[in-house]
């Protein structure tokens, strides 16, 4: 059973469509990167997972229950970190930790000490006096110390400096290695999360454009530097696997996707050219995922396991 199953979820706020028929799964013991541009529906989707928002249509099943029916027993197994946490400002970090810990029977004081130290949280300071970065680190401690089996993190890196980002990601990896933990992490810091996540869910304008193993997703795309011997490259390529092309008759840079085994050799022969294939990073694939989605029909094959919408 997947910890989270999102089935045909749609949600609108007035006239604004936030989620349009989104189907995706969060497999057990995985770290899922939830990516998308601002306003693409990432936070809305995360809020559906805990029942904070209810879908207009479809269903979000979390820990085996429709999210609306989650009770204290299930919620105690989930850790949540909101993008901009609103904590009681007059409390100190320590007071807040004592307060939050009182809701959980599984709260781990030793882990609390370790994480507070590792994340350099000044627990004696008043929450209202903390910088956004410090509040964010405190929020991670508060979301983690009851040993949740599902950790939902909305932009946990946004207010952190590069060093703190690495500390947080290593901490998550450590928790992930020790507990039977499933993590969903939404972020714009694609370079930071890329090595940490093993699945990618990408939203664009409320629609799902990718739900795939991150290596498999990356290996579907490549950059080709094409050099023609005769200087006879056309200005446009009509091969179905070419996403975009730039260059001149002698040399072109192509973005390609879903290239079949024989495509490269056939392409080289057809254009009397040599191909130098390079892999792409998540950051380079991201614009392709989000561009192709706009202006075209609703992605149909995206819901299939490992699928990417065309």
């Amino acid at each position: 059973m997947n910890p989270v199953e999102i089935q045909h979820v749609s949600k609108s706020f007035g006239d604004a469509v936030a989620l349009a028929d989104v189907t995706a799964a969060v497999p057990r013991h995985s770290i899922v990167g939830l990516i998308g541009r601002n306003g693409s529906g990432k936070s809305t989707l995360l809020r559906h997972m805990t029942g904070l928002l209810l879908p207009d249509a479809g269903e979000c099943v979390t820990l085996g229950l429709p999210a609306a029916k989650l009770g204290p027993a299930e919620l105690a197994r989930i850790g949540v970190m909101d993008q901009h946490a609103h904590f009681v400002e007059w409390m100190t970090g320590t007071q807040l930790m004592r307060y939050v810990s009182s809701f959980y029977t599984t709260w781990d004081r030793a882990l609390e000490r370790d994480l507070t130290e590792l994340l350099e949280v000044d627990a004696s300071a008043r929450v209202g006096a903390m910088s956004p970065g410090h509040v964010q680190r405190l929020a991670l401690v508060l979301a983690s110390c009851h040993h949740p089996e599902l950790l939902l993190l909305d932009e946990p890196l946004s207010d952190l400096d590069p060093i703190a980002r690495q500390t947080v990601l290593r901490l998550l990896l450590d928790r992930f290695s020790r507990d039977d933990l499933t993590i969903v992490i939404s972020s714009h810091m694609l370079r930071d999360i890329e090595p940490v996540v093993n699945r990618i869910v990408c939203l664009h304008e409320g629609r799902l454009v990718a739900d795939a193993d991150s290596d498999a997703l990356r290996e579907r795309f490549a950059e080709w530097i094409v050099t023609s011997r005769a200087g006879s490259l056309p200005s446009a390529f009509d091969d179905p696997f070419v996403v975009s092309a730039q260059g001149d008759a002698h040399r072109a840079r192509l973005l390609v996707r879903d290239v079949a085994a024989t495509d490269a050799a056939r392409f080289e022969a057809a254009h009397d050219a040599a191909i130098e294939a390079r892999p792409l990073t998540l950051e380079q694939i991201f614009p392709v995922l989000t561009q192709q989605a706009s202006g075209q029909g609703r992605p149909r094959d995206a819901a299939e396991a490992g699928g990417v919408a065309r």
């Binding site: 990896l173 992930f176 290695s177 890329e194 090595p195 990356r218 040599a274 892999p279 990073t281």
Partner: protein
């Protein structure tokens, strides 16, 4: 065994790990019985998902390059000489491929290209050969 990866060069990290272990083993930098870092250890050290490490180790195991023993670290396997020689040839072949592409792009004919490779080999002659 030291394994380093560049998470930002686009090559999937599991492949970088496989390539590096493969290289170190075939080049004889590490011998049979040498231990690989633990999955959790390497994950922490490199800041990568432990499943990426498992995936790489699984591929190396399927390839017969490393062996798994219950509850112990993975170790480099002992392999027959013929297999070793083939692995070395495959490795060099893979490194030569981009060179071959460059030769084509530059319009260098096969004979000239081979001559250049022979010259390059001469320049890095092994020490024991240069003494004779």
């Amino acid at each position: 065994m030291l394994i380093v990866v560049d998470s930002h060069n686009g090559v999937p990290v599991y492949r970088q790990i496989v390539d590096q272990v493969r290289f170190q083993v075939t080049a004889g930098l590490v011998g049979p019985g040498a231990e690989l870092p633990s999955t959790r250890g390497l994950s922490q050290e490199l800041g990568i998902n432990p499943m990426t490490v498992s995936k790489a180790y699984g591929l190396l195991e399927a390839e017969g390059l490393v062996v798994r023993r219950a509850g112990l670290p993975l170790v480099v396997a002992k392999r027959p000489r013929a297999v070793e020689a083939e692995a070395k040839a495959t490795r060099l072949g893979a490194l030569l491929e981009p060179v071959a592409v460059a030769a084509r792009q530059l319009g260098i004919d096969n004979e000239t290209a081979l001559d250049l490779f022979r010259r390059a080999l001469k320049d890095v002659t092994r020490p024991e050969e240069s003494r004779t």
